[in-house]
């Protein structure tokens, strides 16, 4: 698997969520994703970036444009050093929120991507990796 391009962005303010949406859109356009596929991964990115900011206390996202045996894909890795998630099963459930959200971010991001992986340790932080392939 080859990495065609990789960039890292900080997520510290709510304007950064908008910037992440635009960066992911640009990457998806570069990979010639269809409009629906672009919209899906940008929406997933928006949800995960907001979680990084709101619950993780800020963090980073790495945006990787990948090629695997001719197949093009977009991988996003969100990382924070926030409080972490004690009960991942609960957090993944649609409708569960510890804040004032709709509880659709994690489950929605999973449905909107082909690959979804979450690692979290209470007190250490959270890492979410998603990928969508063309």
């Amino acid at each position: 698997m080859a990495t065609l391009r990789s960039e890292i962005a900080g997520i510290v303010t709510s304007e950064d969520i908008v910037r992440v949406r635009h960066m992911v859109r640009d990457a998806a356009v570069r990979l010639s994703f269809s409009l629906v596929d672009q919209t899906k991964i940008v929406t997933a990115a928006s949800e995960l970036a907001r979680n990084t900011l709101e619950y993780g206390g800020g963090g980073t996202v790495r945006i990787d444009e990948l090629a695997d045996h001719g197949r093009l894909g977009l991988q996003l890795i969100f990382e924070d050093r926030g409080p972490g998630i004690a009960d991942l099963n609960q957090a993944m459930q649609d409708g569960f929120t510890s804040g004032s959200g709709l509880g659709l971010g994690l489950g929605g991001a999973k449905r909107l991507c082909n690959e979804f992986e979450i690692q979290s340790k209470p007190g250490e932080g959270t890492r979410v990796r998603v990928a969508r392939w063309k």
Partner: protein
């Protein structure tokens, strides 16, 4: 029936969360101040509607209902609509229409009083 009873709001930029909340508050204030009976929200410029913007649309519709106004969201892009389904957001309670014209028809129908004459004359 006056067209002046309706507010038209067109969202033109990719809003950050605080801006979206400010717009929701501003709209609610304007409905209360003007006594508008209907709100038309044109989101045709929005390339992404995530759960935050979705919640803002639903909240605006709910607030307008409390203030005796109907909200219709118009112009949602097909790619956005498809994505919302997978996200799991149903936008229950939010009326939608394809475009502004059809949205206006919906609003007129929604606020029409049962005692109104069929020719459209409105008793004062």
């Amino acid at each position: 029936m006056k067209l002046g009873e309706f507010l038209l709001v067109s969202i033109q930029v990719d809003m950050h969360d605080k801006l979206a909340l400010a717009l929701q508050q501003d709209l609610t204030d304007r409905i209360a101040a003007t006594g508008a009976r209907g709100v038309l929200m044109d989101i045709s410029a929005l390339e992404v509607v995530d759960s935050f913007i979705g919640r803002m649309l639903a909240n605006t519709a709910a607030m307008s209902r409390v203030l005796d106004a109907t909200t219709v969201v118009v112009g949602m892009r097909p790619a956005v609509a498809i994505t919302l389904v997978e996200l799991g957001l149903s936008l229950n309670g939010v009326r939608t229409a394809l475009d502004v014209e059809r949205g206006m028809q919906l609003l007129r129908a929604a606020v029409r009083q049962p005692w109104e004459e069929p020719d459209g004359d409105t008793p004062v």
